[in-house]
């Protein structure tokens, strides 16, 4: 049985028109998000993960950014074109977002309780007392010790982990259907990271929430993800269930990423890496954006963009190695 789709991103293109040229940060991203699943967007810095997430809620600065094509379908409406008041309802109410830097994602001049209560009152017409009550429940759900006291704290009085959990509590305050978490664990230490992963997993199960988890850390993908989409050069190059991605990666880029995973037991002195850097977004190479770094590059890769090909029912990849032109799967 296929669970219902809650969000569908179709051929999304977000370009930034700067003085130095057009930056095609997101250049044809496709994916679907199903109910109660955690989809991981994986990729190096600068590959377009964050801009993809921001584009879903139209949060990038406009100008210079603009969505030049594609759709983000949610509940039958296209979020890229819907009117602003509707989008504001969706933001926080239906789709919430948590940012990587909890340190600066909270307003320094108000207490945590005030901020969560305000957030509730933006979307629902309830009294302040009730909103604060809701805030307390959320803080408890986030395993924050002494929630009542924590509500009266200012952000600078909290630890990094508490702030990140408070931030998650705030984004959950209106029971959104989808949570977009943009590298929520980059600025916290490993123990807090484990707590946050635990919380997100709980939410997924208990609230049947769909999560888009953005990360560059494949070990996190393994822990939390159901499916993973590998992003490179503003496009999704491979999407599959997490086990498939990790055990039988198809795209040479994914293979490279997995090879880069540090292995504690390994004796190797030097970690393997993918040669080269992410392409300069101002001068995207023609054809497949990965071809200058690809170890299995072919002539066709330099000329045409590979189309998305289904390897199995749940595994899709955009690479000429798997295209029909090359006579099927070459691996």
């Amino acid at each position: 049985m296929k669970p219902e789709t809650v969000l569908e991103v179709k051929d999304l293109k977000t370009w930034f028109f700067t003085r130095r040229g057009t930056v095609k940060a997101v250049n044809g991203v496709d994916f679907v998000l199903r109910k109660g699943e955690c989809l991981c967007l994986v990729g190096e810095s600068g590959c377009g993960k964050t801009v993809t997430a921001l584009s879903i809620l139209r949060l990038f600065d406009n100008p210079p950014g603009r969505i030049v094509g594609g759709q983000v379908m949610y509940k039958g409406a296209d979020l890229t074109t819907c009117p602003m008041p509707y989008l504001r309802e969706v933001r926080g109410g239906d789709i919430a977002m948590v940012f990587q830097n909890a340190q600066s994602s909270l307003n320094p001049v108000f207490t945590i309780g005030d901020q969560i209560a305000e957030q509730v009152m933006v979307h629902e017409r309830i009294s302040r007392a009730k909103a604060l009550d809701r805030a307390r429940t959320l803080m408890e759900e986030m395993n924050i010790p002494q929630p009542v006291r924590a509500l009266k704290m200012y952000p600078h009085q909290m630890s990094g982990g508490m702030k990140q959990r408070a931030m998650i509590a705030m984004s959950l305050s209106c029971s959104p259907e989808i949570l977009i978490a943009d590298e929520p664990t980059t600025s916290v230490d490993v123990t807090i990271r484990a707590q946050i992963i635990h919380i997100l997993r709980e939410l997924k199960i208990r609230r049947q929430m769909s999560i888009i988890f953005i990360t560059h850390d494949l070990s996190l993908v393994k822990e939390i993800g159901d499916r993973a989409a590998v992003v490179y050069g503003g496009r999704v190059v491979e999407v599959a269930a997490v086990e498939n991605i990790l055990k039988s990666p198809a795209h040479p880029y994914t293979v490279g990423l997995i090879d880069c995973l540090p292995d504690v037991s390994s004796q190797a002195k030097r970690l393997p890496s993918i040669p080269g850097n992410t392409p300069n977004p101002l001068e995207m190479p023609p054809g497949c954006p990965f071809h200058p770094r690809c170890s299995r590059v072919m002539d066709i890769c330099r000329l045409t963009m590979p189309a998305s090909v289904k390897i199995t029912d749940v595994h899709k990849v955009s690479c000429h190695l798997f295209g029909d032109k090359n006579g099927g799967i070459a691996r």
Binding site: G92, E118, Q119, V122, R149, K152, Y154, M170
Partner: protein, 311 residues
């Protein structure tokens, strides 16, 4: 910063600023004088005698503890006799050339000066905040238009404009307050714009946008509270300028003739500097102390709000 200390109440942050302010002695003294002056300005005129009441029998009385020699020329004998006049306790600060009580006039002046200072600064800071935040938040052509307008406003020689408008519309407190307020917002607008520009890019603004906040909500809930310390400091530091401007206007005779302000007293005092020095000196001292106090207090506030300042 406060790790381990219990967060007692929502007042925590203000307490912290208050503690920092108290470490600066001068600023506390300044605040004390400002409070004293405000009380005098609010309640003084209720108890003081009418500052406009003239009594030529007691003109030019010196303050208590001082004396002047008064020579009286007798027409009949052709002799001049010199008498020493001492200050009288019922007019502790003396009287002017029309026999008006100096203390009563200074009290009335305190009310006028503070009123003009607060109202004009209020208008200026309100406009400055609004224009600065709007400009920074909107960006693009709105920002351009507003800031070029600010530049144009800044090129007007402010005092000349004030003199011209008062000359055209006639001197009244309302006109003075309006003119100072409507021209004095430019510096505030620029400062607040630049501060807002840096706050606008902070993550919590994007985060609240991501959770459905409207533009107005972001402006009033996130941007303005975060520049409020700047607003308070600027307001405190611009009040003395306004008080001086009003005094200067009154001094050159363009003040409100219906009210007694420190500038007006100074104006009458300058004609009798040789006979009754206190009429000019007393309002001068008041202006000096007031401006100094506001500046000390403002400086202290600025340091208290500045996280980098070591106190």
């Amino acid at each position: 910063m406060n790790e381990g200390k219990p967060a007692r109440s929502g007042k925590r942050l203000l307490d912290y600023y208050w503690e920092r302010l108290c470490k600066n002695r001068l600023s506390v003294v300044g605040l004390g004088f400002v409070v004293f002056l405000s009380l005098v300005g609010i309640f003084g005129p209720i108890f003081a005698p009418d500052p406009q009441k003239t009594d030529f029998m007691i003109k030019n009385l010196p303050p208590v503890g001082f004396s002047i020699e008064e020579s009286v020329y007798e027409i009949t004998t052709g002799e001049s006799t010199t008498t020493v006049v001492w200050g009288r306790p019922d007019h502790p600060l003396g009287t002017d050339s029309k026999g008006r009580d100096m203390l009563a006039m200074l009290i009335s002046g305190a009310r006028i000066s503070l009123l003009v200072g607060l109202l004009a600064t209020g208008i200026a800071i309100f406009l400055g905040t609004f224009i600065g935040v709007l400009s920074a938040f909107s960006g693009g052509w709105v920002d351009n238009v507003l800031m070029r307008f600010t530049d144009v406003m800044m090129t007007f020689p402010f005092f000349l404009l004030l003199v011209m408008i008062v000359f055209i519309f006639g001197p009244s407190l309302a006109i003075i307050v309006l003119v100072i307020g409507l021209t004095g917002w430019t510096g505030a607008a620029r400062l607040i714009r630049s501060e807002t520009l840096s706050i606008r890019t902070r993550d919590f603004v994007t985060a609240s946008k991501a959770l459905g906040a409207s533009d107005a909500r972001i402006m009033f809930h996130h941007l303005i509270p975060n520049v409020s310390s700047l607003i308070i400091v600027m307001a405190t530091l611009s009040i003395p300028g306004v008080i001086m401007a009003e005094a200067a206007l009154s001094f050159i005779g363009l003040g409100d003739p219906m009210s007694t302000s420190w500038g007006t007293i100074l104006n009458t005092g300058q004609h009798s500097l040789d006979t009754a020095w206190w009429v000019a000196v007393e309002p001068g001292i008041m202006l000096f102390l007031t401006v100094l106090s506001f500046n000390f207090f403002g400086d202290g506030l600025r340091d208290a709000f500045d996280p980098r300042a070591s106190i």
